[in-house]
């Protein structure tokens, strides 16, 4: 008997986890999407779907790292825009090696972005939301300086970051690899492996510690400011990957393209069960959250809603997603506490 109730309690505990509801929603969404688009799971449409989801997935994973560390990055979208503008300003179509310089320059800028945000919220202890709100305008201004209107040049081989098949001159080995694994998937996998390795390091575990209770983490000897700085820099790496994908796809830079992604990335992380209060959640579930949010958009697209309604609908979805996740967390914590009191 006792054993049985123990098992039941364990099950109940698992069901109360936000992760469980996230997985449930994902399955429901996939079934619905497959129902609406009969060839959803065929190779080509699936690849196209993945391509459409990739920037949000990468940004949501980066955002999740910052949220878990107890912060929030409102500048992620404009940072992405700035990186695309940096890349397309450095590159010259005629000169293939400029692509390499572009990658180096954009990576350096990405690190600077992360460090500035990290110093703001970590060392100077400005509330992360307002600090990154301020820096988002710095990135926007810089991006507009480089590229007042969308455009710019990109070297042809940058297309491999989007789809190897599109680039005719790719080496055979890369072509074979690209045929087997889509570039978008590779980029997401790179991000996953990057975080998987990091989360096994001391820094990775400290990110959780700092996020769940900054003061006690500090008092147990963790350099909290440095950990927050690291979280921002890790986020920047994800943004950098997203920028590679975007430039590969569009062959141009755009100072305004990233704006709408910021809020959606935050919503995606929250849908994936990352607690806005910090310290709880998983970067991989933020990935799933991004997939769910993108699937919702896709389903709405199938419902033939007029273009004019898109902003409205996506705003409503974001707020419902965030509010319900927050409400669910508050509710389950309350009911857990009540049960704990009864037992």
């Amino acid at each position: 008997m006792a054993n049985n109730s123990k098992g039941a309690r364990a099950l109940r505990k698992y069901l109360a986890k936000p992760e469980f509801s996230t997985l449930l929603i994902l399955v429901a969404m996939l079934i619905l999407a497959a129902f609406l688009q009969r060839n959803f799971f065929d190779a080509k449409p699936l690849n196209r779907t993945l391509n459409a989801f990739t920037p949000l997935i990468l940004l949501a994973m980066g955002q999740a790292v910052v949220i878990i560390s107890g912060g929030l990055d409102l500048s992620a979208g404009t940072a992405l825009s700035l990186l695309t503008c940096v890349m397309t300003s450095v590159m010259h179509k005629a000169n293939p090696e400029t692509g390499l310089y572009a990658i180096l320059a954009a990576f350096a800028v990405a690190i600077v972005i992360g460090v500035v945000n990290g110093i703001g919220m970590g060392y100077l202890r400005i509330p992360s939301v307002i600090a990154t709100f301020a820096t988002s305008y710095i990135w926007l201004g810089a991006a507009l300086f480089l590229r007042p209107t969308p455009g710019g040049e990109s070297v042809a081989w940058f297309k491999v970051f989007y789809d190897v098949k599109v680039y005719a001159n790719a080496p055979p080995a890369l072509k074979a690899f690209g045929a087997a694994v889509p570039s978008a998937l590779t980029l997401v996998l790179v991000g996953c492996i990057f975080w998987f390795v990091l989360s096994r390091t001391r820094t990775g575990r400290y990110i959780y510690a700092v996020g769940s209770n900054n003061t006690s983490a500090y008092e147990s000897g963790i350099n909290t400011a440095r950990i927050q700085l690291w979280a921002c820099v890790i986020n920047s790496v994800f943004i950098f990957l997203a920028a590679l994908f975007f430039v590969g796809q569009n062959q141009s830079g755009d100072a305004r393209m990233g704006d709408p992604l910021t809020l959606r990335a935050i919503a995606a992380a929250v849908v994936g069960g990352v607690a806005l209060a910090g310290g709880r959640g998983s970067v991989f579930f933020a990935l799933i959250g991004a997939v769910i949010l993108s699937l919702v958009n896709k389903i709405i697209f199938f419902a033939n809603i007029p273009y004019a309604y898109q902003t409205l609908v996506s705003g409503v979805i974001v707020i419902i997603a965030i509010a319900s996740s927050q409400g669910y967390t508050l509710y389950s914590r309350k009911s857990m506490a009540r049960r704990g009191k009864l037992a």
Binding site: L72, A134, G141, L263, G315
Partner: protein
């Protein structure tokens, strides 16, 4: 502690508050001098007056920010510009250039403000979501509403002459909108420092727990601050319409960032509990002067956002960063 030292500490606290006003004022003077050196005719009487007139709308939106910021809880309202735009777009056709329709337009405006403000307040104060995220999503929704409306119908109509007189015209050389500002400012300060609600709001911002234990219903007070911000934003939308003479899709959204920056420059504490509306007005003038300067030397839009971002970030470092604790 004897009387003198209490008075002295009170004076010091006061001096500390005045310091932010003085800094804002010095920043404005510095910009005007810089502008006069870089561009000729920057400091003429007409130019200064025009700057102040343009700044008055930033200052009005800054009032919304100040009210939600003072209540603490990382309060900020990013939806004000969009609420104003929606109001202007909808009421322009209602008014249709007639003073008789102003009452109806005002009613619609207040309804919009109430709706948006209440939604913001509920999600921020009761569901305890970060206000910045709530109001950012709300601006997406309101902008979506504007998109839907403008896709279905053209934006038509004109503001009523009364509104135009208040918002766009001048009495002699003195812009009427400035009179509005000068009337509002003391009222705001009295409401904040003398009424029960104002003190409750300040208390909630200064120390949430202490205020709650002292009988302040923190959630309700913060909810009310968002509702007031929404109502103000919609009325500002009417004034903006009066100033521009017609409504268009992005008329209010560009004021959001400057209004927050103006509040921070003006010394409104990001952590709540402190705010002087005269400071916000000075902050607005500072930002408008900065915009003028950047436009005059040909840096345009990019320079404006870059400059605003750097100014806001720098002042956050000076005012908000909290390195004393450890």
């Amino acid at each position: 502690m004897n009387g003198t030292s209490i008075a002295l500490s009170g004076f010091r606290r006061n001096a500390d508050k005045q310091k932010k006003l003085i800094i804002a004022f010095l920043l404005i003077v510095f910009l005007f001098v810089l502008g006069q050196v870089a561009v000729s005719n920057f400091l003429s009487f007409g130019q200064v007056l025009l700057t102040i007139k343009l700044a008055s709308f930033i200052a009005l939106f800054g009032l919304c920010q100040m009210i939600v910021m003072v209540g603490g809880g990382d309060g900020l309202d990013l939806s004000v510009g969009y609420t104003a735009t929606l109001t202007a777009v909808l009421t322009a056709s209602i008014m249709n250039g007639q003073n008789a329709n102003l009452g109806m337009a005002l009613l619609v405006a207040l309804a919009i403000g109430l709706l948006v403000g209440a939604a913001n307040g509920f999600l921020a104060a009761y569901v305890k979501l970060p206000p910045l995220i709530v109001t950012l999503s709300m601006s997406l929704i309101v902008q979506g509403g504007i998109n839907v409306y403008t896709a279905g119908a053209d934006i038509t109509g004109k503001p009523s002459p009364i509104l135009q007189t208040i918002a766009a015209k001048s009495t002699g050389v003195f812009p009427n909108i400035l009179v509005v500002l000068l009337v509002i400012a003391p009222i705001v300060m009295v409401v904040l420092s003398r009424t029960k609600w104002g003190l409750a709001l300040l208390g909630a911002g200064t120390n949430e727990t202490a205020a709650f234990l002292g009988g302040v219903r923190v959630k309700r007070v913060r909810f009310a601050s968002f509702v007031i911000s929404g109502l103000l934003a919609s009325v500002i939308g009417l004034l903006l319409l009066g100033n521009m003479g017609l409504a268009f899709k992005d008329m209010g959204s560009n004021y959001v960032m400057p209004s927050i920056a103006a509040a921070v420059v003006g010394g409104v504490s990001m952590s709540g509990g402190e705010g002087n509306y005269f400071g916000v007005i000075l902050g607005a003038i500072f930002l408008q002067t900065l915009t003028n300067l950047l436009v005059a030397i040909g840096w345009g839009d990019a320079g404006k956002w870059l400059g605003f971002g750097i100014v806001l970030f720098t002042l956050l470092i000076v005012y908000v960063s909290d390195r004393r604790v450890r």
